[in-house]
Symmetry: C2
Subunit: 415 residues, 2 copies
Amino acid sequence: MKDLKGAAIFGQSGGPTSVINSSAAGVFIEALKQELITEVYGAAHGIKGIIDEKFYDISKEDIKELELLKYTPSSALGSVRYKLKDVKDDDTDYKKLLEVFTKYNIRYFFYNGGNDSMDTCNKVSKYLKAANYDCNVIGVPKTIDNDLFGTDHCPGFASAAKYIATTLMELNLDAKVYNTGLVCIVEIMGRNAGWLTASAALANYKGLGVDLIYLPEVPFDVDKFVDDVKKVCDKNNNKAIVVVSEGIKNADGRYVGDFMASATDLFGHAQLGGVGAKLGDIIKERLGVKVRAIEFSLMQRCAAHIASKTDIEESFKAGQAAVRYAVKGQTDKMVAFERTYKNGKYVCKNKLLPLKQVANAEKTIPAEWINADGTGLTEDFVNYALPLIQGDAKAPLEDGLPRFAKLKKVLATKD
Amino acid sequence: MKDLKGAAIFGQSGGPTSVINSSAAGVFIEALKQELITEVYGAAHGIKGIIDEKFYDISKEDIKELELLKYTPSSALGSVRYKLKDVKDDDTDYKKLLEVFTKYNIRYFFYNGGNDSMDTCNKVSKYLKAANYDCNVIGVPKTIDNDLFGTDHCPGFASAAKYIATTLMELNLDAKVYNTGLVCIVEIMGRNAGWLTASAALANYKGLGVDLIYLPEVPFDVDKFVDDVKKVCDKNNNKAIVVVSEGIKNADGRYVGDFMASATDLFGHAQLGGVGAKLGDIIKERLGVKVRAIEFSLMQRCAAHIASKTDIEESFKAGQAAVRYAVKGQTDKMVAFERTYKNGKYVCKNKLLPLKQVANAEKTIPAEWINADGTGLTEDFVNYALPLIQGDAKAPLEDGLPRFAKLKKVLATKD
């Protein structure tokens, strides 16, 4: 293994989270320390910024601002949803990448994202290798969906879960305040895996939770749903709180939100809004109760003011580890988390997984963690998720409001 | 003035807030200390709980739990929206109230709420006086809407404003993360006064705010709105963040959300959802850009995890002051806030206002605080609101989640 000396570039990809910038801080602060790394670049809008030769010179940033990235939500460099074509079909982007890598002597490529981003990472890695261009490529995991294969959990999940559990506890108190009936239907993100929706079970564990939980892992039946809600209403003076994943599917695997959008005839009008609002309309019609549909929308992925300290720290370390692994010669891998317990206390360790393994797999909630009725989680889930949401950390306050990182974003140039 | 000795009862009314329970803590903790107060009761579901003779014996509660009320959102005793009839039309409720007051020797009545609750308070006060029943009646203000007459601001407003400003700062970072267009339309509570929607200006003050602010105070014109958004989109690569009050009205004074609900023909389908979603559809149709409509829904009034410490403390003191004023013989009044500055530092003092004055008035944003275009606030608003949102305080964490107050709620009895 020879020492690889050159520049490093880091990009952020896919939907932002509360802590994706903490991984950026980890990569940048560590890379700036490494002797083998001559320059540190941050790509504007992920892989697109590299192709377009638009990236920032991180050495120009104040270290204080890089530290503040830990507590700054969203993707400070800009994100992208851009799928590299198969190199056999079209190698234009790859050629441009190689040209830019060569021009800037980029020998370290770090990419932060979910499954799709790991696929991008893997494609770039393979292309560079085939072109005999030495470059160590390491993926840094990120997704509130928590659905990456081979890692105990994903950076970003715990902070979203903490937001969801805390907010549901608050909503529980609010929604039950009157002596009259109200069904609250809360829609939560997650197209294919129910981890985020499941985090409602943490609020249940604290005794201020929800009555029913609907996950994408369990085939959804509208009639059973109405029946489930009716049972809760009958028992609780027409009060119920229900969470549904945006990704619930019927027995045929079709998204409930999609097929209900076309069912304009059911109640004589077009169904707008998310699946929660649509189910709310059905409950209103069939049970004749007051309904409030709530979407946690973008807030669940950017509420940095209630991030998990554990998540922030693990995300930072994942970025730091990526750099350390890379300068030691590792490539074509993703940093992953392994859970151990030391004297009964949760400990998170880093490990590496081949990018190819992660790129096209998906981790859903184990069937045995879902209760028999398909509307709740077992305590295994609570035991899994609870250590991840521990600790509070957030941006310092200035005028009572968060002081987020402000980057100078000096464009890198090379003539 | 003679000393009035007897029981005290406290009730919560109207929409809950993050800090209404802090006022409850103030009333309870102070009342338990007062020698003239023989018993302390908390009414279940406000005035309805008194009429139904359903209230809790607060002396049975742990003081630790009463302290935790400061950080516990919603109305711990249960709330109510119940309008007392005019005594001339129907005095049934009043007779029942007098009967209960007499039976329990209730000589102090504290009621926590907004305009309507102050009206209730005033009616009860007048009836008891006419019946020659000695009882000191003091209202404690509460409303996220901040629209009570005669008080500098209202308990509950600042915590909601802090949630809104912080969340908009986070959304600003999130919504602008891709290199593609997105118009975010955020709908904020407030049917007649725009104070909460205006608090978006605090996020603007920190440089991470919104492009356009639409208040109920300014007549709303859909075409101007589309034009305003278009201008922002043209300048900012089709990116815009807009906040609208749920209470925006057209020039005729009709709620935009209401008249748009009946405009089913405009785009051939029924308009569901709030006014934000409806305006989002119009922007999508007319400007052809991607739109995301977001509602802060109940979260804006119950997000105790990001309450303003100043608000919590002032709410507590308002409750405490109500008791102190009452035992000194004051009655038929509401505790109000007066702002002063000491060495340039904001100081909030309590004062008293006649209930009658508060009951049927409403305070909207001064016209001179709204910019010429009607889409933003002047710095006068920022100077007004900023001191109110200072400081962080929240429930202690247990398992990484809030430990809210748990009351025993032992029903009071008298044979």
